[in-house]
Symmetry: C2
Subunit: 345 residues, 2 copies
């Protein structure tokens, strides 16, 4: 378990189009979100493994000598990333004291970290390594989420944009980097309930809802085509007009499916007064929304929009989608404020 | 040209579901709106024909001897209601002094009145008479509107609800009377521009918009089925739940088609805070909306809702849809305030 000193980062994720429709066999587009999570790995000579997750107020430390007996025989082999070892997970639950069914964020993060840490640490990323990272990230998802789609780990690994259809995930070769605002309405919602609500509507009114799902599918495909054009020909204002129109249409489609929310209507209304177009991202019913910024959108417009959204009680970040996936960083290439958060050099 | 003394009335019209989709070959439902227009016909011995339209500040009077030469040979025959006589219309334009292309409300009303007055006045309404009234009303529409669908005159004549598909208008045999609020946002809009906007979206994104039109079509059909059930089985809360859900879905579909408006979003938001469901009716982009009231909706709820909508600057009427079409009234059966508006007895 030799650990080389390094800094790595992986992007966040947003659904660009196709949330909910994807549950019913339609295309969805997932994009990397350039709000990155950084991890610094430091070698120590203390005989201890420590994990510091300041975002969730978690600092934990274990004696390596206590951890080692939990690993059965050998270090993990690449193909072990394909399946979750229920015995190792069980031993870890017992070791950390996390009961089955406990879904507390800190417990989940700790379990996922220890499982992956004990199973693997390599370095140097060729295509095969990337696939390995993706597989291990998926194991983390399985520990935390239960029945993950595989989109989150794939976007975190490959970045850019992924086409997601009937459980099949296809990374799109080239997509432009798009400036966005990510807004958290802070309205809590239950993804499970929202997904069930759409299912109920589909069962109750198949002749009404099925065509809407087809229409959402066409939104994702049209968006994918437009983004591909933006990498193969000069980007024009018309490209952005289409992206904005698709955002407006998809937002209304999601309202047809019953997963809108007054807080999201407010988001759309407020941003539109600044000439910007928004949609919910993910489950809806509150939660987060994305707002497209055009290349020419002035910093003052962004500032005023953020101010108005904050006045609604929302949290707001200016960031981008379609950026790189998991990355290794030399310390000089990492932003000062991030290095500070990672702790003393 | 013998005129018998009588009072007649005809209902207003609202589109319940299917506006815009109907332009693209889908079903729409038009309903009578119990905001009635009353007309009192009085015999005179002055040798004058007078028309008093207080709503549009119009009082006009002509010598019958001046009008008579405008009619070519004989009084109109029923089948003349099937076509507009361009020569008579031309003579009337000249007589009244209304240039072709002048679409002023008073001029249009005067032309339509004189055309129908000079062509026909009969009495006693069997089925055939109703068809005749409908045909003559359609001629009035042609004079005023240019290229009317025939829905407005049909709803005014037959009342109740009509199914409208590819230019074919089918009166539905039995529909329940539904309490509604009619709200005028007073936001002006151009129907022509809105219809063209939907056409443009359809041309630009056929794979996205065509399924939405299919979905709207299914809304109209589901609504028709639900209303039919409400006349053949005991009305339950679930019937109203479905009607409300269809209203919400159709409103979002119309936003997908791009004919929503912030004023209509406000209407929906305000009424929903009182537990009531609304949609735009007609062209959208402002204009009017309808809000369904349930049988058990309390008068206090209606009053508070109207107060909140008026605070938004909207006009609001409590009325009903699905009521009778054109009617003849004995004076005792007409409401006092209406008799007063019609003038001295």
């Amino acid at each position: 378990m030799h650990v080389r000193h390094c800094i790595v980062s992986a992007p966040g994720k947003a659904i660009l189009h196709g949330e909910h429709a994807v549950v019913h066999g339609k295309v969805a587009l997932a994009v990397s979100l350039n709000l990155r999570t950084y991890l610094e790995l430091k070698a120590t000579s203390t005989g201890k493994v420590s994990i510091d997750l300041p975002n969730i107020d978690t600092f934990l430390s274990w004696d390596l000598s206590d951890l080692q007996p939990l690993v059965s025989e050998s270090f993990a082999k690449p193909d072990e990333a394909q399946r979750l070892d229920p015995e190792l997970l069980g031993r870890l639950r017992e070791f950390v004291g996390v009961a089955d069914g406990n879904l507390d964020t800190r417990s989940m993060a700790t379990l996922a970290f220890l499982y992956i840490y004990l199973s693997l640490f390599g370095s140097g990323w060729c295509q095969e390594d990337m696939e390995l990272i993706n597989s291990w990230a998926f194991q983390g998802e399985r520990i935390i989420h239960g029945n993950p789609s595989g989109v989150d780990n794939a976007v975190g690994t490959w970045g850019g944009m992924l086409r997601f259809l009937s459980g099949k995930i296809i990374p799109l070769s080239r997509v432009p980097l798009l400036r966005i605002l990510l807004t958290n309405t802070k309205v809590p919602r239950s993804t499970k309930q929202l997904v069930a609500g759409v299912k109920d509507k589909l069962t109750k009114f198949p002749s009404i809802i099925n065509p809407v799902l087809d229409s959402v599918d066409a939104i994702s495909c049209t968006c994918e085509k437009t983004l591909a054009e933006m990498t193969s020909e000069p980007i024009t204002g018309e490209h952005y007009n289409v992206l904005e129109e698709l955002i407006d249409i998809n937002q209304s489609q999601l309202c047809v499916l019953g997963v809108g929310h007054p807080s999201l209507d407010t988001l759309c209304r407020v941003t539109l007064t600044h000439g910007l177009h928004s949609k919910l991202t993910g489950a809806g019913g509150g939660g987060c929304g994305i707002t497209l910024l055009r290349p020419e959108t002035d910093a003052a417009v962004v500032r005023d929009t953020v101010r108005d959204l904050q006045a609604c009680g929302y949290d707001c970040w200016e960031t981008s989608i379609g950026g790189p996936g998991v990355q290794q960083h030399g310390a000089p290439s990492v932003r000062e404020d991030i290095l500070e958060r990672l702790g003393p050099r």
